[in-house]
Amino acid sequence: MDNALFQVDPGLFIWALVVFSIVLLILKRYAWKPLLDFLDEREKDISNSLAMAESAKADLEKIKDESEKILDKAKKQGKTIVGDSKQKAEQSANNILNKAQEKSNEFLVEAKSKIDLEKKRAIKEIKEEVVELSLDLASQVLQRNVKDDDNNKFIQSSLKAVKTDEAKS
Protein backbone atom coordinates (compact mmCIF):
# COMPACT_ATOMS: atom_id res chain seq x y z
CA MET A 1 0.00 0.00 0.00
CA ASP A 2 1.50 3.28 -1.01
CA ASN A 3 0.56 5.13 2.13
CA ALA A 4 2.85 6.39 4.88
CA LEU A 5 0.39 5.17 7.47
CA PHE A 6 0.62 1.61 6.24
CA GLN A 7 4.20 1.55 5.07
CA VAL A 8 5.73 -1.83 5.73
CA ASP A 9 8.99 -1.49 7.58
CA PRO A 10 10.60 -4.81 8.52
CA GLY A 11 13.41 -2.97 10.30
CA LEU A 12 10.96 -1.34 12.67
CA PHE A 13 9.22 -4.71 13.15
CA ILE A 14 12.52 -6.27 14.24
CA TRP A 15 13.35 -3.28 16.43
CA ALA A 16 9.96 -3.54 18.11
CA LEU A 17 10.39 -7.28 18.74
CA VAL A 18 13.88 -6.84 20.13
CA VAL A 19 13.05 -3.83 22.32
CA PHE A 20 9.88 -5.42 23.63
CA SER A 21 11.62 -8.73 24.37
CA ILE A 22 14.37 -6.97 26.30
CA VAL A 23 11.83 -4.90 28.24
CA LEU A 24 9.83 -8.06 28.95
CA LEU A 25 12.84 -10.03 30.18
CA ILE A 26 14.12 -7.27 32.44
CA LEU A 27 10.71 -6.42 33.88
CA LYS A 28 9.85 -10.09 34.37
CA ARG A 29 13.04 -10.70 36.31
CA TYR A 30 13.24 -7.49 38.33
CA ALA A 31 9.69 -6.16 38.59
CA TRP A 32 6.73 -8.44 37.92
CA LYS A 33 7.88 -11.66 39.59
CA PRO A 34 9.11 -9.96 42.80
CA LEU A 35 6.03 -7.74 42.87
CA LEU A 36 3.62 -10.68 42.43
CA ASP A 37 5.47 -12.66 45.10
CA PHE A 38 5.35 -9.66 47.39
CA LEU A 39 1.64 -9.11 46.79
CA ASP A 40 0.91 -12.81 47.38
CA GLU A 41 2.88 -12.75 50.59
CA ARG A 42 1.15 -9.62 51.77
CA GLU A 43 -2.27 -11.07 50.99
CA LYS A 44 -1.32 -14.26 52.80
CA ASP A 45 -0.21 -12.18 55.78
CA ILE A 46 -3.46 -10.26 55.74
CA SER A 47 -5.61 -13.40 55.53
CA ASN A 48 -3.48 -15.04 58.23
CA SER A 49 -3.85 -12.13 60.56
CA LEU A 50 -7.56 -11.99 59.80
CA ALA A 51 -7.86 -15.67 60.66
CA MET A 52 -5.82 -15.08 63.79
CA ALA A 53 -8.04 -12.19 64.77
CA GLU A 54 -11.08 -14.38 64.14
CA SER A 55 -9.72 -17.21 66.29
CA ALA A 56 -8.67 -14.73 68.96
CA LYS A 57 -12.20 -13.36 68.94
CA ALA A 58 -13.61 -16.88 69.26
CA ASP A 59 -11.17 -17.60 72.09
CA LEU A 60 -12.18 -14.41 73.81
CA GLU A 61 -15.83 -15.37 73.47
CA LYS A 62 -15.06 -18.79 74.90
CA ILE A 63 -13.10 -17.31 77.77
CA LYS A 64 -15.91 -14.86 78.44
CA ASP A 65 -18.42 -17.73 78.55
CA GLU A 66 -16.18 -19.72 80.82
CA SER A 67 -15.59 -16.82 83.15
CA GLU A 68 -19.31 -16.20 83.30
CA LYS A 69 -19.88 -19.84 84.16
CA ILE A 70 -17.18 -19.68 86.82
CA LEU A 71 -18.68 -16.49 88.19
CA ASP A 72 -22.13 -18.10 88.31
CA LYS A 73 -20.71 -21.14 90.04
CA ALA A 74 -18.82 -18.96 92.49
CA LYS A 75 -21.96 -16.99 93.23
CA LYS A 76 -23.91 -20.19 93.85
CA GLN A 77 -21.15 -21.58 96.02
CA GLY A 78 -20.92 -18.33 97.92
CA LYS A 79 -24.62 -18.44 98.53
CA THR A 80 -24.49 -22.01 99.78
CA ILE A 81 -21.45 -21.22 101.90
CA VAL A 82 -23.19 -18.21 103.43
CA GLY A 83 -26.32 -20.28 104.00
CA ASP A 84 -24.37 -23.10 105.60
CA SER A 85 -22.33 -20.83 107.77
CA LYS A 86 -25.46 -19.00 108.85
CA GLN A 87 -27.01 -22.30 109.82
CA LYS A 88 -23.86 -23.37 111.58
CA ALA A 89 -23.60 -20.04 113.34
CA GLU A 90 -27.21 -20.33 114.45
CA GLN A 91 -26.61 -23.85 115.61
CA SER A 92 -23.50 -22.96 117.51
CA ALA A 93 -25.21 -19.88 118.97
CA ASN A 94 -28.02 -22.11 120.13
CA ASN A 95 -25.54 -24.57 121.54
CA ILE A 96 -23.71 -21.84 123.35
CA LEU A 97 -26.97 -20.47 124.68
CA ASN A 98 -28.07 -23.90 125.81
CA LYS A 99 -24.77 -24.56 127.47
CA ALA A 100 -24.87 -21.18 129.13
CA GLN A 101 -28.36 -21.90 130.31
CA GLU A 102 -27.28 -25.26 131.68
CA LYS A 103 -24.26 -23.75 133.33
CA SER A 104 -26.25 -20.96 134.85
CA ASN A 105 -28.75 -23.53 136.08
CA GLU A 106 -25.91 -25.52 137.54
CA PHE A 107 -24.56 -22.37 139.11
CA LEU A 108 -27.94 -21.60 140.50
CA VAL A 109 -28.34 -25.04 141.98
CA GLU A 110 -24.84 -24.90 143.38
CA ALA A 111 -25.40 -21.44 144.71
CA LYS A 112 -28.64 -22.51 146.30
CA SER A 113 -27.00 -25.48 147.97
CA LYS A 114 -24.14 -23.28 149.05
CA ILE A 115 -26.56 -20.72 150.38
CA ASP A 116 -28.38 -23.49 152.26
CA LEU A 117 -25.11 -24.76 153.65
CA GLU A 118 -24.01 -21.27 154.62
CA LYS A 119 -27.42 -20.68 156.11
CA LYS A 120 -27.16 -23.81 158.17
CA ARG A 121 -23.65 -22.94 159.24
CA ALA A 122 -24.70 -19.41 160.11
CA ILE A 123 -27.62 -20.70 162.10
CA LYS A 124 -25.30 -23.11 163.83
CA GLU A 125 -22.84 -20.35 164.52
CA ILE A 126 -25.62 -18.10 165.78
CA LYS A 127 -26.83 -20.86 167.98
CA GLU A 128 -23.36 -21.43 169.36
CA GLU A 129 -23.02 -17.72 169.87
CA VAL A 130 -26.37 -17.74 171.68
CA VAL A 131 -25.17 -20.61 173.86
CA GLU A 132 -21.97 -18.79 174.58
CA LEU A 133 -23.87 -15.59 175.32
CA SER A 134 -26.31 -17.41 177.46
CA LEU A 135 -23.42 -19.17 179.17
CA ASP A 136 -21.80 -15.80 179.71
CA LEU A 137 -25.08 -14.49 180.99
CA ALA A 138 -25.49 -17.53 183.11
CA SER A 139 -22.00 -17.24 184.51
CA GLN A 140 -22.64 -13.61 185.29
CA VAL A 141 -25.91 -14.60 187.01
CA LEU A 142 -24.09 -17.46 188.64
CA GLN A 143 -21.38 -15.27 189.98
CA ARG A 144 -24.11 -13.45 191.84
CA ASN A 145 -25.93 -16.44 193.13
CA VAL A 146 -24.36 -19.76 192.48
CA LYS A 147 -25.88 -21.38 195.29
CA ASP A 148 -29.34 -20.86 194.15
CA ASP A 149 -30.65 -24.29 193.06
CA ASP A 150 -33.45 -22.88 190.93
CA ASN A 151 -31.01 -21.01 188.85
CA ASN A 152 -28.94 -24.07 188.43
CA LYS A 153 -31.88 -26.11 187.35
CA PHE A 154 -32.85 -23.40 184.88
CA ILE A 155 -29.39 -23.36 183.35
CA GLN A 156 -29.37 -27.12 183.04
CA SER A 157 -32.72 -27.14 181.24
CA SER A 158 -31.67 -24.33 178.93
CA LEU A 159 -28.55 -26.25 177.96
CA LYS A 160 -30.64 -29.33 177.22
CA ALA A 161 -32.98 -27.30 175.04
CA VAL A 162 -30.07 -25.90 173.09
CA LYS A 163 -28.59 -29.38 172.60
CA THR A 164 -31.86 -30.79 171.32
CA ASP A 165 -32.21 -27.89 168.89
CA GLU A 166 -28.70 -28.51 167.73
CA ALA A 167 -29.47 -32.15 167.24
CA LYS A 168 -32.59 -31.29 165.25
CA SER A 169 -30.86 -28.90 162.91
Binding site: L5, D9, G11, F13, W15, F20, S21, L27, P34, L35
Partner: protein, 299 residues
Amino acid sequence: MFIDKNDTVSHDPVDTAISHVANSQLNHPLFDMHFEFFGIDLSITKHVFLLLLIAFITVPSIVFLVQRYISSKTKIPGKTMNFIEMIVVYIRDNVLKSFIGEKYYREWAPLIYTLFFFIFVGNFLGLIPLFDLLGLINYVFGGDTFLKEFVHGGNTVTANINVNFALAMVTFFAFTIAGMKKYGFIEHWKNLAPPGLALPLYFIVVPIEILGMLIRPLSLTLRLAGNMMGGHLALIIFTMLVIGIAEEYGFAAGLGASIFSVSLSVAIIFLEIIIASLQAYVFALLTAVFIGMAVNVNH
Protein backbone atom coordinates in the same frame (compact mmCIF):
# COMPACT_ATOMS: atom_id res chain seq x y z
CA MET B 1 3.64 9.40 -2.22
CA PHE B 2 5.19 10.61 1.04
CA ILE B 3 8.22 8.39 0.69
CA ASP B 4 9.70 10.17 -2.26
CA LYS B 5 13.38 9.88 -2.95
CA ASN B 6 13.93 13.64 -3.16
CA ASP B 7 12.44 14.22 0.30
CA THR B 8 10.46 17.21 -0.83
CA VAL B 9 8.09 18.68 1.67
CA SER B 10 4.54 18.20 0.53
CA HIS B 11 2.03 20.99 0.97
CA ASP B 12 -0.97 18.80 0.47
CA PRO B 13 -3.06 18.99 3.71
CA VAL B 14 -3.64 15.25 3.65
CA ASP B 15 0.08 14.58 3.40
CA THR B 16 0.77 17.05 6.20
CA ALA B 17 -1.85 15.40 8.37
CA ILE B 18 -0.51 11.93 7.69
CA SER B 19 3.07 13.02 8.25
CA HIS B 20 2.08 13.91 11.80
CA VAL B 21 1.09 10.37 12.61
CA ALA B 22 3.30 8.31 10.35
CA ASN B 23 6.90 7.31 10.92
CA SER B 24 9.73 9.34 9.46
CA GLN B 25 10.52 8.45 5.86
CA LEU B 26 12.50 5.29 5.52
CA ASN B 27 15.02 7.00 3.31
CA HIS B 28 15.45 9.74 5.85
CA PRO B 29 15.98 8.19 9.28
CA LEU B 30 17.18 10.01 12.37
CA PHE B 31 20.40 8.08 12.46
CA ASP B 32 21.40 6.22 9.36
CA MET B 33 23.00 3.04 10.62
CA HIS B 34 24.25 1.93 7.19
CA PHE B 35 23.56 -1.53 8.50
CA GLU B 36 21.45 -4.11 6.83
CA PHE B 37 20.36 -7.38 8.36
CA PHE B 38 19.40 -9.85 5.63
CA GLY B 39 18.53 -6.90 3.44
CA ILE B 40 16.52 -5.21 6.19
CA ASP B 41 17.50 -1.63 7.01
CA LEU B 42 17.86 -1.26 10.77
CA SER B 43 18.46 2.50 10.78
CA ILE B 44 17.00 4.40 13.67
CA THR B 45 13.87 6.12 12.44
CA LYS B 46 11.77 8.24 14.73
CA HIS B 47 9.61 5.33 15.77
CA VAL B 48 12.66 3.23 16.60
CA PHE B 49 13.85 6.14 18.70
CA LEU B 50 10.43 6.24 20.39
CA LEU B 51 10.56 2.49 21.06
CA LEU B 52 13.90 2.96 22.77
CA LEU B 53 12.47 5.92 24.67
CA ILE B 54 9.59 3.73 25.91
CA ALA B 55 12.11 1.13 27.07
CA PHE B 56 14.22 3.77 28.80
CA ILE B 57 11.18 5.20 30.56
CA THR B 58 9.43 1.94 31.41
CA VAL B 59 12.25 -0.31 32.55
CA PRO B 60 14.18 1.92 34.99
CA SER B 61 11.12 3.58 36.48
CA ILE B 62 9.14 0.37 37.08
CA VAL B 63 12.15 -1.62 38.30
CA PHE B 64 13.19 1.24 40.58
CA LEU B 65 9.69 1.75 42.01
CA VAL B 66 9.02 -1.96 42.53
CA GLN B 67 12.41 -2.66 44.10
CA ARG B 68 12.15 0.34 46.38
CA TYR B 69 8.61 -0.65 47.40
CA ILE B 70 9.52 -4.28 48.10
CA SER B 71 12.71 -3.53 50.01
CA SER B 72 11.22 -0.67 52.03
CA LYS B 73 10.61 -1.34 55.69
CA THR B 74 7.22 0.33 55.86
CA LYS B 75 5.85 -1.36 52.70
CA ILE B 76 3.83 1.73 51.92
CA PRO B 77 3.74 2.51 48.19
CA GLY B 78 4.29 6.01 46.88
CA LYS B 79 1.81 7.69 44.53
CA THR B 80 3.22 6.23 41.30
CA MET B 81 3.83 2.83 42.86
CA ASN B 82 0.30 2.88 44.21
CA PHE B 83 -0.95 3.47 40.65
CA ILE B 84 1.18 0.61 39.31
CA GLU B 85 0.07 -1.69 42.12
CA MET B 86 -3.56 -0.80 41.49
CA ILE B 87 -3.22 -1.76 37.81
CA VAL B 88 -1.23 -4.91 38.61
CA VAL B 89 -3.79 -6.08 41.18
CA TYR B 90 -6.75 -5.16 38.94
CA ILE B 91 -5.32 -7.04 35.94
CA ARG B 92 -4.37 -10.00 38.14
CA ASP B 93 -7.83 -10.33 39.69
CA ASN B 94 -10.04 -9.37 36.76
CA VAL B 95 -8.06 -10.47 33.72
CA LEU B 96 -5.40 -13.03 34.56
CA LYS B 97 -7.24 -15.07 37.16
CA SER B 98 -10.59 -15.00 35.40
CA PHE B 99 -9.36 -15.72 31.85
CA ILE B 100 -6.18 -17.75 32.26
CA GLY B 101 -7.07 -19.24 35.64
CA GLU B 102 -5.44 -19.61 39.06
CA LYS B 103 -3.16 -22.40 37.89
CA TYR B 104 -1.44 -20.84 34.90
CA TYR B 105 -1.77 -17.09 35.33
CA ARG B 106 1.60 -16.53 37.02
CA GLU B 107 3.41 -17.92 34.00
CA TRP B 108 1.83 -15.37 31.68
CA ALA B 109 1.40 -12.43 34.03
CA PRO B 110 4.76 -10.75 33.18
CA LEU B 111 3.87 -10.75 29.48
CA ILE B 112 0.44 -9.21 30.04
CA TYR B 113 1.81 -6.56 32.43
CA THR B 114 4.68 -5.69 30.11
CA LEU B 115 2.33 -5.44 27.12
CA PHE B 116 0.06 -3.14 29.08
CA PHE B 117 2.75 -0.79 30.35
CA PHE B 118 4.69 -0.82 27.08
CA ILE B 119 1.63 0.18 25.06
CA PHE B 120 0.40 2.53 27.79
CA VAL B 121 3.67 4.49 27.82
CA GLY B 122 3.78 4.41 24.00
CA ASN B 123 0.26 5.76 23.75
CA PHE B 124 0.93 8.54 26.23
CA LEU B 125 4.22 9.50 24.59
CA GLY B 126 2.12 9.95 21.46
CA LEU B 127 -0.07 12.42 23.32
CA ILE B 128 2.90 14.59 24.29
CA PRO B 129 3.93 16.64 21.26
CA LEU B 130 7.64 16.14 21.90
CA PHE B 131 8.77 16.43 18.31
CA ASP B 132 6.36 19.22 17.47
CA LEU B 133 7.98 21.18 20.29
CA LEU B 134 11.40 20.45 18.78
CA GLY B 135 10.01 21.65 15.45
CA LEU B 136 8.87 24.88 17.07
CA ILE B 137 12.30 25.41 18.62
CA ASN B 138 13.86 24.71 15.23
CA TYR B 139 11.52 27.26 13.65
CA VAL B 140 12.37 29.88 16.29
CA PHE B 141 16.08 29.40 15.64
CA GLY B 142 15.75 29.95 11.92
CA GLY B 143 14.55 26.55 10.78
CA ASP B 144 17.91 25.10 9.96
CA THR B 145 19.24 23.62 13.20
CA PHE B 146 20.02 19.95 13.82
CA LEU B 147 16.53 19.66 15.34
CA LYS B 148 14.90 19.68 11.92
CA GLU B 149 15.98 16.04 11.61
CA PHE B 150 13.52 15.22 14.37
CA VAL B 151 10.45 16.92 13.01
CA HIS B 152 9.56 14.52 10.22
CA GLY B 153 6.80 12.16 11.12
CA GLY B 154 4.57 11.68 14.11
CA ASN B 155 5.37 10.61 17.61
CA THR B 156 2.77 7.93 18.22
CA VAL B 157 4.72 4.74 17.93
CA THR B 158 1.65 2.63 18.72
CA ALA B 159 -0.08 4.04 15.63
CA ASN B 160 2.51 2.25 13.53
CA ILE B 161 1.32 -1.09 12.19
CA ASN B 162 4.86 -2.53 12.14
CA VAL B 163 5.28 -1.97 15.86
CA ASN B 164 1.80 -3.20 16.65
CA PHE B 165 2.22 -6.23 14.45
CA ALA B 166 5.42 -7.11 16.31
CA LEU B 167 3.52 -6.89 19.60
CA ALA B 168 0.62 -8.87 18.14
CA MET B 169 3.05 -11.55 16.97
CA VAL B 170 4.32 -11.79 20.52
CA THR B 171 0.71 -12.41 21.56
CA PHE B 172 0.28 -14.94 18.74
CA PHE B 173 3.32 -16.94 19.80
CA ALA B 174 2.33 -16.61 23.44
CA PHE B 175 -1.06 -18.25 23.00
CA THR B 176 0.31 -20.87 20.62
CA ILE B 177 3.08 -21.79 23.05
CA ALA B 178 0.61 -21.74 25.97
CA GLY B 179 -1.63 -24.25 24.19
CA MET B 180 1.27 -26.49 23.16
CA LYS B 181 2.76 -26.44 26.64
CA LYS B 182 -0.47 -27.63 28.17
CA TYR B 183 -1.75 -30.11 25.56
CA GLY B 184 1.33 -31.03 23.54
CA PHE B 185 2.04 -30.13 19.91
CA ILE B 186 -0.48 -32.37 18.16
CA GLU B 187 -3.22 -32.09 20.75
CA HIS B 188 -3.00 -28.28 20.62
CA TRP B 189 -3.73 -28.20 16.90
CA LYS B 190 -6.46 -30.78 17.38
CA ASN B 191 -8.07 -28.38 19.85
CA LEU B 192 -8.75 -26.03 16.96
CA ALA B 193 -11.82 -28.05 16.04
CA PRO B 194 -14.30 -29.49 18.50
CA PRO B 195 -14.40 -33.31 18.51
CA GLY B 196 -17.43 -35.32 17.52
CA LEU B 197 -18.45 -33.41 14.42
CA ALA B 198 -19.52 -35.05 11.18
CA LEU B 199 -16.53 -35.49 8.89
CA PRO B 200 -17.61 -33.04 6.18
CA LEU B 201 -18.02 -30.32 8.78
CA TYR B 202 -14.32 -30.49 9.61
CA PHE B 203 -13.59 -29.25 6.12
CA ILE B 204 -15.46 -26.10 7.00
CA VAL B 205 -14.64 -25.71 10.70
CA VAL B 206 -10.88 -26.25 10.53
CA PRO B 207 -10.18 -23.59 7.87
CA ILE B 208 -12.46 -21.16 9.72
CA GLU B 209 -10.65 -21.81 13.00
CA ILE B 210 -7.23 -21.41 11.38
CA LEU B 211 -8.36 -18.21 9.72
CA GLY B 212 -9.71 -16.96 13.05
CA MET B 213 -6.42 -17.75 14.72
CA LEU B 214 -4.43 -15.91 12.07
CA ILE B 215 -6.77 -12.93 12.11
CA ARG B 216 -6.30 -12.42 15.84
CA PRO B 217 -2.86 -10.71 15.59
CA LEU B 218 -4.07 -8.73 12.60
CA SER B 219 -7.10 -7.44 14.48
CA LEU B 220 -4.92 -6.56 17.47
CA THR B 221 -2.59 -4.63 15.19
CA LEU B 222 -5.27 -2.68 13.36
CA ARG B 223 -7.38 -1.97 16.43
CA LEU B 224 -4.53 -0.31 18.28
CA ALA B 225 -3.14 1.47 15.23
CA GLY B 226 -6.55 2.71 14.13
CA ASN B 227 -7.46 4.00 17.57
CA MET B 228 -4.20 5.82 18.08
CA MET B 229 -4.14 7.17 14.53
CA GLY B 230 -7.73 8.34 14.48
CA GLY B 231 -7.49 10.67 17.43
CA HIS B 232 -4.29 12.23 16.18
CA LEU B 233 -5.64 12.70 12.69
CA ALA B 234 -8.71 14.41 14.13
CA LEU B 235 -6.48 16.67 16.22
CA ILE B 236 -4.35 17.64 13.24
CA ILE B 237 -7.33 18.21 11.01
CA PHE B 238 -8.91 20.54 13.56
CA THR B 239 -5.63 22.39 14.00
CA MET B 240 -5.09 22.68 10.27
CA LEU B 241 -8.61 23.97 9.85
CA VAL B 242 -7.49 27.18 11.53
CA ILE B 243 -4.60 27.61 9.10
CA GLY B 244 -6.80 26.77 6.12
CA ILE B 245 -9.48 29.27 7.12
CA ALA B 246 -6.85 31.95 7.90
CA GLU B 247 -5.26 31.46 4.47
CA GLU B 248 -8.60 31.53 2.71
CA TYR B 249 -10.54 34.20 4.61
CA GLY B 250 -7.92 36.22 6.48
CA PHE B 251 -6.48 36.44 9.96
CA ALA B 252 -9.70 37.41 11.81
CA ALA B 253 -11.60 34.45 10.41
CA GLY B 254 -8.72 32.18 11.42
CA LEU B 255 -8.82 33.60 14.92
CA GLY B 256 -12.56 32.94 15.10
CA ALA B 257 -12.10 29.41 13.87
CA SER B 258 -9.35 28.83 16.43
CA ILE B 259 -11.84 29.21 19.29
CA PHE B 260 -13.90 26.40 17.84
CA SER B 261 -10.95 24.24 16.90
CA VAL B 262 -8.94 24.67 20.11
CA SER B 263 -11.87 23.82 22.35
CA LEU B 264 -12.65 20.79 20.23
CA SER B 265 -9.00 19.75 20.24
CA VAL B 266 -8.89 19.96 24.04
CA ALA B 267 -11.97 17.74 24.19
CA ILE B 268 -10.33 15.28 21.80
CA ILE B 269 -7.15 15.27 23.91
CA PHE B 270 -9.21 14.22 26.92
CA LEU B 271 -10.85 11.53 24.82
CA GLU B 272 -7.39 10.47 23.67
CA ILE B 273 -6.23 10.10 27.27
CA ILE B 274 -9.10 7.69 27.89
CA ILE B 275 -8.45 5.85 24.63
CA ALA B 276 -4.71 5.61 25.33
CA SER B 277 -5.38 3.83 28.64
CA LEU B 278 -8.25 1.79 27.26
CA GLN B 279 -6.41 0.48 24.21
CA ALA B 280 -3.42 -0.59 26.29
CA TYR B 281 -5.85 -2.45 28.54
CA VAL B 282 -7.72 -3.98 25.57
CA PHE B 283 -4.49 -5.28 24.03
CA ALA B 284 -3.42 -6.84 27.34
CA LEU B 285 -6.92 -8.18 27.98
CA LEU B 286 -7.23 -9.81 24.55
CA THR B 287 -3.80 -11.39 24.92
CA ALA B 288 -4.95 -12.88 28.22
CA VAL B 289 -8.22 -14.03 26.65
CA PHE B 290 -6.40 -15.75 23.77
CA ILE B 291 -3.96 -17.44 26.15
CA GLY B 292 -6.90 -18.46 28.32
CA MET B 293 -8.69 -19.92 25.30
CA ALA B 294 -5.60 -21.94 24.39
CA VAL B 295 -5.06 -23.18 27.94
CA ASN B 296 -8.64 -23.88 28.98
CA VAL B 297 -10.18 -25.72 26.07
CA ASN B 298 -13.78 -26.62 26.78
CA HIS B 299 -15.51 -28.41 23.98
